[in-house]
């Protein structure tokens, strides 16, 4: 098995260079957004809300907020990363280079996941200034962070390959991922819902991701941690299969 490490590094480095150029916008946006959430939900509304499963409301929403950013940033960075060369035509070079499909995915998804994990960490640090954040299971917190970032970057890569225009890049994040995240317990525990809605929520895959991530912080979860982990791994596996099929069939990349 040969591995084109120079090729993977070149793409990874090139992708991160774009991030570095816009580092202030990229990092300031989540910092400001998170601060606003804490001012509104933590200080203004949160003080009037009771604790959720023994966790102050402001602290309770931290994992959900990080997840929300992780989803959107991973999808955006990975989809844009592969869509843009398709749009400008520079994809010709990647297709004609001695890099295997696995290496291309590794480089693009790796770069996108790196960015979103950085942003997730910045949000976590910012949150620390506003609310008492506790991390009971640091290993699992990091594991969920990486797994989610990588999975959604893969998902973003698929969207980027599928998209035929800039609008299509936005469609899935806006119409599917953001609503599912808001309804997936980012700001509440699904235990708070009436039983019918609670059952309905269990069909939302995002519930499992947020629940598992929150468990790593506070030891409390909506669904069993094993189920969360399996669901996350399942989604990861599904994305891998689709990416594999894309390269095998040449779908929207090659004639």
């Amino acid at each position: 098995m040969r591995f084109n490490r120079h090729g993977v590094w070149a793409i990874y480095h090139f992708e991160l260079a774009r991030f570095r150029r816009t580092v202030w916008q990229s990092l300031m946006t989540p910092v400001i957004t998170t601060s606003l959430y804490f001012i509104v939900f933590g200080a203004a509304i949160g003080s009037r809300m009771s604790e959720v499963n023994g966790v102050p409301y402001g602290a309770f929403i931290v994992p959900g907020l990080i997840m929300l950013s992780l989803f959107t940033e991973s999808i955006f960075n990975a989809s844009f990363g592969i869509y843009f060369p398709k749009f400008t035509g520079t994809i010709y070079e990647i297709l004609s280079a001695p890099v295997s499909p696995a290496e291309i995915v590794l480089a693009y998804v790796g770069a996108a996941a790196t960015k979103s994990m950085l942003i997730g960490s910045v949000i976590l640090l910012t949150a620390n200034f506003f609310v008492p954040v506790q991390i009971l299971h640091p290993f699992w917190m990091v594991a969920f962070l990486i797994l989610t970032a990588v999975t959604f970057s893969l998902f973003g890569f698929i969207i980027g390959v599928w998209a035929k225009g800039f609008e299509q890049l936005q469609v899935i994040p806006m119409l599917i991922v953001t609503p599912l995240t808001f309804l997936g317990g980012a700001f509440y525990s699904i235990d708070m819902l009436p039983p019918a809605w609670r059952t309905f929520s269990l069909f939302n895959p995002i519930v499992y991701l947020i629940s598992g991530f929150r468990w790593s912080f506070y030891g409390e979860s909506d669904v069993a941690i094993e189920v969360s982990l399996l669901a996350t791994l399942g989604f990861f596996g599904l994305c891998l299969l689709v990416v594999g099929w894309i390269f095998k069939s040449g779908y929207r990349l090659k004639n």
């Binding site: 120079h6 090139f14 260079a17 150029r21 520079t90 010709y92």
Partner: protein, 312 residues
Amino acid sequence: MSAILSISGLTKTYASGLQALKKVDLEIRKGEIFALLGPNGAGKTTLISIVCGIVTASSGTVVADGHDIVRDYRDARMKIGLVPQELTTDTFETVWATVTLSRGLFGRAPNPALVEKVLRDLSLWDKRKDKIMTLSGGMKRRVMIAKALAHEPSILFLDEPTAGVDVELRRDMWAMVRRLRDEGVTVILTTHYIDEAEEMADRIGVIRKGELILVEEKATLMRKLGRKQMTLQLQEPMQAIPEGLSDWNLTLRDGGHGLEYSFDVHEEKSGIPELLRRMGELGIGFKDLNTEQSSLEDIFVSLVSTRTESAS
């Protein structure tokens, strides 16, 4: 000389049903400059795209410098550089960043000294820190070439390298291609400009409707298909070609003021002395005489149009 690129039985049918290539066989010799000529839509770009791995062939094999382009794609692609027809660049990146990316992509370890040499050779060194979007079209074309050369390929494809390029850059480009050949790089270029092929190529291939209809040494081709025209400026205009001159292939020009005789240069006898003698006998005088050898363009046009006629 041995073949550096062997294409055999290459066929491509697109999903739309368009058959872009029909069983193409072609051998490119090491170190030569090969020009692929053909009208738009003939299959030139498809052929190049398959060799470079951008398009998947329907059938057939390609071996580049001893490596099958599918089975052994890593080694094959490391040998190949491609300058595509379209100016597709990473507009927001600097020249340096994009050329460095190309080198890495093709599996080569970073080598700033080599990137510097490539940029200097293409007069891009002063622009290395500029964003590509700020460059002129000609400069962008140079960037594309720099990208293709960054990994030191032994086979270079230039797809319409001088389309829409000014005269100066065109000359620079030709000089660069010759320099590359001197360094041992095999160059395959496609072009619309027949004078370009005539100027540059060692061998010429003509492709039409997905078929390679001819591959020939340029010199042989010129000789084989080259026709010469001799035009005589007549003293007295003539209404029709006299009976006595019917043995020669003659046409009247300029409303009877000129008489044109067309002949094959490789025929043993041109027939000129006999023609002039006969004209003297018939008392047809002429003021001036001039001969012209047909260019590759004429050859090309006649080749493509004859085949079209015979095909339809």
